[in-house]
């Protein structure tokens, strides 16, 4: 071997130099103060360093990982030019079937359309005539929608200002968003999930609203009488109280005190039986209110088919206010949402926003000191806005974002120029976020959060501390053990082990791989397992020595015979880690990466580096014994 050692030295030196070069930025970065980082950031140099360091995963740095799925069924509903129960049933059915991960929504949709015999061209005539054409076009539409969603989300996140956000498409209809170091997950979530559909609806006048509420009560009461088994004591009471009920409704709109205070439990029950709809409501100054605890019940009532058809016939819809608030001038802990009865066609809808800016309301206006979003509309929007406001002076118009009413001011005069303000935000941050999403545009399809993992910064810091501790203790233990057990040869193996770890880290840095907590576990496992190659070799050499061979021949045949064992044994772990990489997400991928490189490099260090050292050692002098 001695004649061929020089190229081996050369290779080892080159690799060592490369490892140091690859790890230097990480080292620098770790020892940098925040001030220095800021300085480099302004100089524009930090990014270059950051692109060459080992990244920390979200589980170490803290942050959020969110998988969003485009709501394809909802998109299909939106795309239909005609909406009826039949189509809705089919979409719903297909949606249920596609809850099974093996079933594609469109496949289920197509099947259901065929079995039902429904003519799709009635609903989607813009997308073609034949079933195949329409399905293909709708699929394209869905793909296109998800791409636009991706773009818009990128836009929103960029403006939100997070360092190194990752937003990627996963599969056909999913988007994975990773935001490191996010402190306020609530804000980030709303930012991603708001559809940002901005609509302006006229509020129906009081008389019409009273009328529909009475009708709601009637239709729901009929339903209760016929479908559910009413208690015998309730039935006779109903007819007598009918008159009472109508006064309750009109009271709702008087500026009178809210009625909740003086109603005893018994009468509330009666009202629920007799006025299933209006019984849930409370009068607030100027508006209908609904107590927070009743919201769910009311929403359920509103989804009933008989209620839906009644509302559809009346061209109306009920929407809630954005937030629940304590009723003014009442000292109660109960919070109320406002309920609005609106036209069901918007006067003006999103896509008209040119510019949106968050601000505090100016002095003198009604919203002084309140966070507001100021909108500037494009020319088309401005024209419509000025026409709508001009034609409806004295009426109220509701500004609705994602189906929630932000405010419903009265129109005092015609508004030319397409400027308006939205109020009703909890704080300036919310207003800022809404301004961002209004600028970035509305999502073409709603998105649902289907997976969400958030790690708080303190847990991440704990994980780093604990992981590092485990690595150091494990490493120390193995190093000492090898030294004690194999003496001089143990030092060689220890040297190889440290090399191994350095090289793994260097590879991670140059691959820009992410180090996760399972990745650290992989590093620890590598420490334990990679020593195996050296153990196999050393045991083999000992065996050869026992057979009476000289150190030099023992080393040579030890290495030669151990080689196939090492390759075969490690191949299987490599296979397992490759499969794991394929299967895993985030943290698990981090583990697989470290394990893969750890094992691969351990084969190299054990076979190549330690052998070179041994060969050099043996060739220097005539050895009679080997410290192993």
């Amino acid at each position: 071997m001695q004649h061929s050692l020089t190229p081996r030295y050369l290779i080892i030196v080159v690799i060592l130099a490369w490892a140091v070069y690859a790890l230097r930025p990480t080292w620098q970065y770790q020892n940098m103060t925040e001030d220095k980082k800021e300085e480099l950031r302004t100089a524009g140099e930090l990014e270059r360093i950051e692109s060459r360091i080992i990244r920390q995963g979200l589980d170490l740095k803290g942050g959020m990982y969110i998988v969003l799925e485009a709501d394809i069924p909802a998109l299909m509903g939106n795309l239909a030019s005609l909406k009826d129960d039949r189509l809705e049933t089919i979409i719903e059915g297909a949606q249920k079937k596609s809850a099974n991960p093996d079933v594609d929504f469109f496949t289920a949709f197509e099947e259901d359309v065929k079995t039902d015999g429904i003519k799709l061209s009635r609903y989607y005539h813009e997308y073609g005539a034949s079933l195949d054409d329409i399905i293909t076009a709708l699929k394209d539409e869905a793909d296109d929608a998800i791409n636009r969603v991706l773009e818009i989300l990128q836009n929103r996140v960029d403006q939100f200002g997070v360092s190194e956000p990752t937003i990627q498409k996963q599969g056909k209809h999913r988007i994975v968003v990773e935001l490191a170091g996010i402190q306020d997950s609530k804000r980030a979530r709303s930012l991603l999930q708001s559809t940002a559909l901005l609509e302006f609806y006229l509020v129906k006048n009081i008389a019409v609203t009273n009328e529909i509420i009475a009708q709601m009560d009637d239709v729901l009461r009929e339903k209760t009488d016929s479908s559910e088994q009413p208690g015998p004591e309730e039935k006779p009471a109903k007819k007598d109280e009918k008159d009472d009920e109508s006064t309750t409704v009109s009271e709702l709109f008087g500026d009178s005190e809210p009625v909740t205070g003086d109603i005893s439990q018994g009468t509330i029950d009666d009202i629920f039986a007799d006025a299933p709809f209006s019984g849930l409501l409370t009068a607030l100054p100027g508006d209908m209110g609904i107590e927070e605890k009743n919201v769910y019940a009311l929403k359920k009532l509103l989804t009933r088919p008989e209620v839906q058809s009644k509302l559809a016939n009346a061209n109306g819809q009920f929407l809630f206010s954005q937030d629940a608030q304590s009723a003014t001038n009442v000292n109660t802990p109960e919070k109320y949402y406002r309920l609005y009865y609106l036209e069901n066609r918007p006067e003006l809808t999103g896509g008209i926003v040119d510019e949106a800016r968050a601000d505090l309301g100016t002095l003198g206006s009604g919203s002084a000191g309140q966070p507001v979003v100021s909108l500037a509309m494009n020319s088309e929007g401005s024209r419509t806005w000025s026409r709508v406001t001009g034609a409806n002076v004295g009426e109220r118009i509701a500004i609705v974002l994602d189906k929630k009413v932000h405010m419903a001011p009265s129109i005092r005069e015609k508004i030319p120029g397409g400027r308006t303000q939205i109020e009703g935000f909890a704080d300036i941050n919310e207003a800022k976020d809404i301004a961002i999403i209004l600028r970035a545009g509305a999502l073409p399809a709603p998105v649902n959060i289907i997976e969400e993992r958030i790690v708080g910064p303190s847990l991440g810091a704990d994980s780093i501390a604990q992981g590092t501790q485990a690595v150091l203790i494990g490493l120390a233990l193995v190093l000492v053990f090898m030294l004690v057990y194999y003496k001089l040869a143990g030092i060689v193996a220890d040297f190889a082990l440290i090399w191994n770890i350095l090289l793994v880290l260097a590879v991670l840095a140059s691959l820009q791989a992410t180090l996760t907590l399972p990745g650290i576990a992989g590093l620890i496992l590598t420490i334990g397992m990679s020593i195996d190659s050296n153990v196999i070799i050393f045991e083999r050499i000992r065996e050869e020595l026992r057979k009476g061979k000289t150190p030099k021949t023992a080393i040579d045949s030890g290495y030669d015979r151990a080689l196939t064992t090492i390759i075969d044994a490690n191949m299987t772990t490599l296979i397992a880690s490759l499969v794991l990489y394929q299967f895993g997400t985030g943290p698990i991928k981090g583990f697989a990466t470290v394990l893969f490189w750890g094992i691969l490099i351990s084969m190299f260090t054990a076979v190549f580096i330690t052998r070179t050292i041994f060969s050099a050692y043996v060739s220097r002098k005539t050895l009679t014994s080997l410290s192993i």
């Binding site: 589980d59 809850a99 099974n100 991960p101 402190q183 306020d184 927070e292 009743n294 919201v295 769910y296 929403k299 959060i449 289907i450 969400e452 993992r453 790690v455 708080g456 910064p457 303190s458 847990l459 704990d462 994980s463 604990q466 992981g467 501790q469 485990a470 494990g474 233990l477 193995v478 057990y485 194999y486 907590l517 399972p518 576990a521 620890i524 496992l525 420490i527 334990g528 397992m529 020593i531 195996d532 153990v535 045991e539 196939t564 064992t565 075969d568 044994a569 299987t572 772990t573 296979i575 397992a576 880690s577 499969v579 794991l580 394929q582 943290p587 698990i588 583990f591 697989a592 394990l595």
Partner: protein, 318 residues
């Protein structure tokens, strides 16, 4: 230094006893799984929400349980008193020393059909209301972690995990069949299946959850156990050529004895590092390192007492 002088242990005569031991472990595990309706799956596979929060002082789990028995979110009333609530982070060395950290609490909730919007966040807010005076001043420090997995994702991940383990086994079968012979591959796969089933069984017996990280541990166990098996098989292959007249049983015995000190040293170093991981690695990778500890022990055992006897059986048939 040497742990072992040359050994001449007749391992193959003890396979009957080992078989009984393995059978007992496997049956106990399977009975436990059948009684519990399968292995205890984490929210990764079952779907649901898991929230871990950090109070500034010790809190009482029972108080939290009764406080969340009646929670109103967006007008819906929920009873979460049946949820799994435990202290979070009290693992490893601290747990052994009896140092229970009672300030961190984790709650696990099943997924619900009528889940309100932003449910996990709203639930965190409700947790904060239980002990408002013990919430860290900087509210961002209150949340340790939130995990929410939708039922659909859970089903997908389960499918992926099973596929991953099966495809790893298949690939390994192919690799060993090519490098050795098919009968060696059968022995190795028998040992691996044995390892995974027993580890799964022990998890079920102890009530530990199988999460994504644990599946990763399973795959690592597969890799590790195989590593060990192959080192022995490699010796067998070498000795079969050298000792043509000897029976396969005695060749295997000799091979195990020859590689025994290596087996012990490597198993020990690996065992110690995963033990350290288990003791100081913290809550997040606790079950992972536990699976690895079991895996290292079972994997070493199975190379000698499962893979090798199966190889003898297969060899006898040829």
């Amino acid at each position: 230094m040497r742990i072992l002088k040359e050994t001449h242990i007749d391992f193959m005569s003890k396979t009957g006893l080992a078989g009984l031991l393995s059978a007992a472990l496997i049956i106990a595990g399977i009975v436990s799984m059948v009684m519990n309706g399968g292995p205890k799956l984490s929210i990764d596979f079952k779907g649901g929400t898991m929230v871990a929060v950090n109070f500034t002082d010790s809190v009482d789990i029972n108080e939290i349980r009764s406080a969340i028995a009646n929670v109103s979110i967006d007008g819906q009333t929920f009873d979460f008193s049946k949820a799994e609530i435990k202290y979070f982070g009290a693992v490893g060395v601290d747990a052994l020393l009896g140092k229970l950290d009672e300030t961190n609490v984790a709650v696990r909730l099943a997924s619900m059909d009528n889940e309100p919007e932003q449910f996990s966040q709203k639930f965190v807010d409700k947790m904060a209301e239980v002990y408002p005076e013990l919430v860290p001043e900087n509210r961002a420090e209150f949340v340790l972690s939130i995990e929410k997995v939708g039922p659909k994702i859970g089903a997908e991940l389960s499918g992926d995990a099973v596929m991953a383990i099966l495809s790893a086994l298949a690939l390994i079968l192919v690799y060993i069949s090519i490098r050795f012979e098919f009968k060696y591959a059968v022995g190795a796969i028998a040992a691996l299946t044995h390892d995974v089933v027993i580890t799964l069984g022990i998890f079920s017996l102890l009530g530990y959850e199988v999460s994504l990280a644990v599946v990763a541990a399973f795959l690592t166990i597969v890799g590790y156990s195989l590593n060990d098996t192959i080192v022995i098989f490699d010796r067998v292959r070498e000795n079969v050529k050298a000792l043509k007249s000897a029976t396969l049983g005695s060749v295997i015995n000799q091979s195990i004895n020859e590689s025994l000190s290596r087996t012990i040293i490597t198993s020990l170093t690996t065992f110690f590092v995963v033990l350290i991981l288990f003791l100081v690695g913290g809550e997040v990778i606790h079950t992972f390192s536990f699976a690895m500890i079991i895996g290292v022990i079972i994997g070493t055992y199975s190379s000698i007492f499962i893979a090798s006897p199966v190889l003898i059986r297969m060899g006898a048939n040829n």
